[in-house]
Symmetry: D4
Subunit: 208 residues, 8 copies
């Protein structure tokens, strides 16, 4: 059974040495593929110097031990972002989804203030098995996407913005109030969590 | 000079008798046209029984003493609402704008979860001198409209919704964070305030 | 295509007469099956007196015009509630899910303070295609369920509780912070929204 | 058509190299005049070293590629600030307005606790086509100005203050509640957004 | 020693019978003058029917047993309100101050959006020993008054307003952030508390 | 007339050079005594190096140009603090009060969790003309002091504490809700503001 | 084993009929003693009319089926309240504690603004095995009591107050920040929960 | 009498020199055993260099002067943590409890998302005299533990998490709303406070 969680290390608040120790233990326990999230460049460099072998994905702030798997999900996960500043969260989602065996398409800068840029992607939206919609500031993207899509939409509020964005809380509250049906929400900046649930959905067996 | 404010009575928290008194005083001072906002059906009936002569606009929860003026603004004000539940606020805005001498177009139920319904109104959006965009829940409408319109957009958050809508605060915070440029915001359910500012804008002299 | 949304009337803030009008229009447009949510007993009685024919589901505060369909989803939706006070939200979720063509199992009173009552339902949890976990107060249920289940969990915070429950906001914030992976969240008391997304997930095609 | 938005780069969270890249692309696309907001002195120096040619406006934390245009608006924009600490926000507003083709007058330190300093500027207030009122702490300035002015007032709350100013949220909430009519509000510290809307208003065609 | 507090009954949440009992006990203990605050008309009528003898002040929602005393303070207390809706709070302040032996002047409707109405009262402001400034909505009055007055200003936020007034919290936060020196703040709608402190100040001995 | 405000520079957010400039201008305008608040040790050193002559009070984070005046108030100001961590705020209050011509007594570490330490100071409390009560965390001190004192109490919430102290907001809200009469409140950490109002009270003329 | 919870019915939100059903089931299961909390007078009357036999405690808003037990705890529980308005919460705590087999002393109106009234109860404080300190408004009582007592203090914030008491949240936050050691906190108005934990503490075995 | 508080120094916001001074004074007053909390490694090193002799406990961020005492409590305190990131708070609790004479068992990483890891510790839970349950994020652990345990549970919310964890406030609110009986709560990250109260409970005399 693919459970995913046991393959992931949450890197924030852990030293490179601690991460190295966990990776070692996991590998000894037979884990071939490990995802390390929330690890900045400096910590990644330290970890590499300790002899830990992994690929660092700078935009996702994450490292991968072992090879990414062949996608084996039912369909495709579409990751949509509202603005270029949301890309770090999007990359965390994309990498996590790939790590968990999903085929992923990513469309950046599809913010609602330029609705025609979003409408150009109708085909990707129609094709997706599940959509991850990422937005900071007023968090309006999932509402528009939820109206266009027939599949489930997982909304990720981001801390992008300033002032009354309240560090992402404004976007989170907005998304939870989405007037579109079929939208559910995860924590602020939680690209990992959105991808994890999207992967679960994308790996469900069909008609039983 | 048209200042508007001296012609308006805010009816909430005033008794019918108090309103009647103010109307009387205003008329004696020469005011021919008076707008009474936030007055429910029952209070309007009481006021009528006291011999005060006015037209009651039930959906706007407002009364008008005297005739509505001929529009004398520069162009047209467009009032857009996200959902049918926002209509009371929209009607307050529409009536206020008419009362202040504006030509108004109103499009209801143009919520962002059905974006094509909104896109059908491209012509009205292009024609407007100023737009009032009204929405509850996640308050996403002004962001989409702001991206489509070349004119100023005044956003009105409404208390429509439940739970994490926080009585309209979620929509207000979202609108203040709008990723679209050219959007400013008034208080929750404040259709009057939005129309008042829209009217000021619509009556500005052109090139001086 | 089953879109669901066009078959649903949100009854809150609409009069019986308004609902009757919408039902009529929908039926004339060929809609045979209609769900009316957030309609209390008194409004349902008024609607019935107007000659509208529907079945009223008192615990769900909802009415159904026409017959509920045969389930045609991939698997089963499991609805779990933490306490008896959450049942109204659970019943809204159950009825909505059934209305949208899903087979539903409902387990009430599986709160985390009596963890063994929850653990007794391991089989239902393992069998579910998607789980709706409903809880007020501290909103802990989805975290425990998320750890037990291999399928996606949709969490519904409820307004059940008092004082520092902040009308359900505490449960919502807690659920968004769930330490379990595979959990996403909808608005406070939004049994409809959870069931709608669960139904989308349960009707996804398998491997394409 | 002057849309403005496509001429502006939001510099916060972008590296000098990224900004240089965007400037290059814009220039190649024919854009002669570019505004770069939220760029601190250090980043501006880096950008200059990369051979990008622009004028840096230190107080506005902004850079301008190309020449500022001749004003072509209908009238004058008046920028009023409550205290010297709000000047950074005011300068962002002034520069943005000039960049967008407006004639601007700026009056600093017209806080309400010294009301006579404000009253001295009655002439500027009467002459303005639109006013931008900027204030931190209790955010009272727009209310007083709104009462004095016959034109629209755009209020900008600032994060100036400490303790219960809540990073500007207190001023924002206060401004949204303004007892003066004709006041609308933008995000905390958003001098750019206020100027953008003011410019839209100042460039509206007159009677059509 | 005049302590005041032992002469006052806070009527909210007490039945007429409970109030009657406390009045009786106080009178038997020799108290000749008693103030009963937060008592609505209905409760006052019940209390009167029980044979309790007192004068009811409807606008202040308060009753006075015994005679109001001759003023014996050092100077005059000035009570200023921003709008007519704040009058109930103002009347509570005025009656409390009179009850505690102060000479009081009250100026209503001196809101900051009509600054010239406030400026007309320069003489009263200059004459006052202490000022109570009462305002709802954005709570700006104390800041303007604080700048005009040389004496201490006690600010009372009121719950007047709607939406983002947050039941008076917005005004309270604004007042605490006042840019004027010499302003301190009491609880929302707490006319009693402001008058109590004003009376303490007005009864301080001079140079010792 | 002593107005105080024009003698004070708020040092936060101003560079040493800016402060030096303001001091120079003030002195040229005849001001002999100047208080500079919120100036840390480093900025004070820079200011001194620029040739500005002043005494630095490290604990108060403030500098004084010229001599402190002889006290000329009516009585004594008592400054009470709950814990040693509140001393910086207390020292700002003490120095400001002295600067404004008041005789000040300061009692530190009189927190309510050791009530007998506070009760030992009954004499100082009885003697005071006005009391400044400073406390962080739960902000209980002003309530106890307000019950013991017959004079006005000005409460200063501080940002001392962690977690649910919300940066001082908890103490501020608690103080505004004080069950003691005669207590009013200033902004978080605003020792200056409390002392300024206390000085106004302490300099009021007696019976007129 | 005494577990308590299975003997208690939370009456809020349950109909008299539902309560009667639960009582019946419990009695059939052998439960002789049942506590029904949060039941108002009207519901109690309905329940009695249904033939359910119980004693109603009006001040505690609670009913008891069967006899209260003989106290069998280690020592005494002391319940302290700050003001008479907190008595309903205190009575819920007292009755719950008695129901669970504790000897209880209750002291009302020991608020911190009259500290000497509290200090008079030094003996009861010294004698108590555990103290429940109940307060609304600023919630200061537990801090003072925590300093006086050597035993554990359980703090109960109440919703008593208005304005910035935020429905009890202010008191809750204050209590959680108590500067006294040995204080822990339960939910707003949760007299039951405090008594339940106090009873657990009072029934702990001594040295094992 | 063991009072504990006089033996403890809260190191945050104190310099090494200040701490050294307090330690000296305490020792001269006869205190042999002193706990210094919230002291980071650097400050500890400085303190050691000043000649102060103490053992530093790095994980607890605390130092102990003198020897830890032999446990003399009634039973055992069990410290449970939800995740490895909560260990710093747990270690503060463990060390404080030991310092105050308690025997302590500590179980880390017993989070509710892996409920079986928690259930493995049934014996420790049954044996405990009092339990300290520590959790960040959604703060669900105390509810599950409260249901399993027959003894009092003291809940400690931690600031672990991000986004909508609101720095620990989400966990605090959740814990205060716990559906389990027998749970009370201390401040965010307050391992010391929880251990202090647990120690009080664990040292209570039995039947008197
Ligand atoms: N970026 C992330 N945000 C939220 N949760 C994460 C993230 N990355 C990993 N996790 C979760 O954290 C768990 C590992 O936590 P830990 O044992 O502290 O390394 C994983 O199994 C995931 O459930
Ligand atoms: N209980 C509910 N909570 C949230 N949304 C609902 C609920 N019931 C229906 N809806 C949504 O409201 C739409 C109908 O809204 P309306 O057109 O106002 O009746 C449906 O299509 C659903 O998307
Ligand atoms: N200071 C500012 N505050 C808010 N929005 C801004 C600011 N400066 C620029 N913008 C907006 O950001 C857009 C550019 O964003 P970007 O594509 O991320 O550079 C501009 O077109 C403006 O709409
Ligand atoms: N520590 C302080 N906190 C709040 N206000 C202060 C403080 N120090 C000075 N002020 C006020 O700030 C004014 C000077 O502000 P500025 O002109 O910016 O230097 C003074 O007149 C005081 O009213
Ligand atoms: Mg959809
Ligand atoms: Mg636009
Ligand atoms: Mg799972
Ligand atoms: Mg105006
Ligand atoms: Mg003044
Ligand atoms: Mg007093
Ligand atoms: Mg104690
Ligand atoms: Mg238990």
């Amino acid at each position: 059974v693919r459970t995913g969680v046991s393959e992931v290390i949450y890197g924030a608040g852990k030293s490179a040495a601690q991460i190295a120790g966990i990776v070692d233990a996991m590998r000894r326990a037979g884990q071939e593929r490990i995802l390390i999230t929330r690890m900045d460049e400096r910590k990644a460099a330290e970890l590499a110097e300790m002899g830990c072998s992994f690929a660092y994905h700078a935009e996702a702030h994450a490292g991968v031990v072992g090879e990414l798997p062949e996608p084996d999900g039912n369909g495709e996960i579409l990751v949509l972002t509202a603005g270029t500043s949301d890309i770090a969260v999007a990359e965390e989602a994309v990498l996590t989804a790939r790590f968990l065996g999903n085929s992923v398409t990513c469309v950046n800068d599809a913010g609602v203030a330029g609705i025609h840029r979003l409408l150009r992607h109708g085909e990707e939206i129609a094709r997706a098995q599940v959509i991850i919609a990422i937005a900071g500031m007023e968090g309006a993207l999932p509402s528009v996407v939820g109206g266009l899509a027939a599949c489930p939409v997982i909304a990720v509020p981001t801390s992008v913005g300033y002032g009354a964005n309240l560090g992402g809380l404004t976007a989170l509250l907005a998304m939870v109030n989405s007037c579109a049906s079929g939208v559910s929400v995860v924590n602020i900046d939680n690209g990992f969590g959105a991808a994890y649930q999207a992967s679960l959905i994308n790996h469900l067996s069909g008609k039983r």
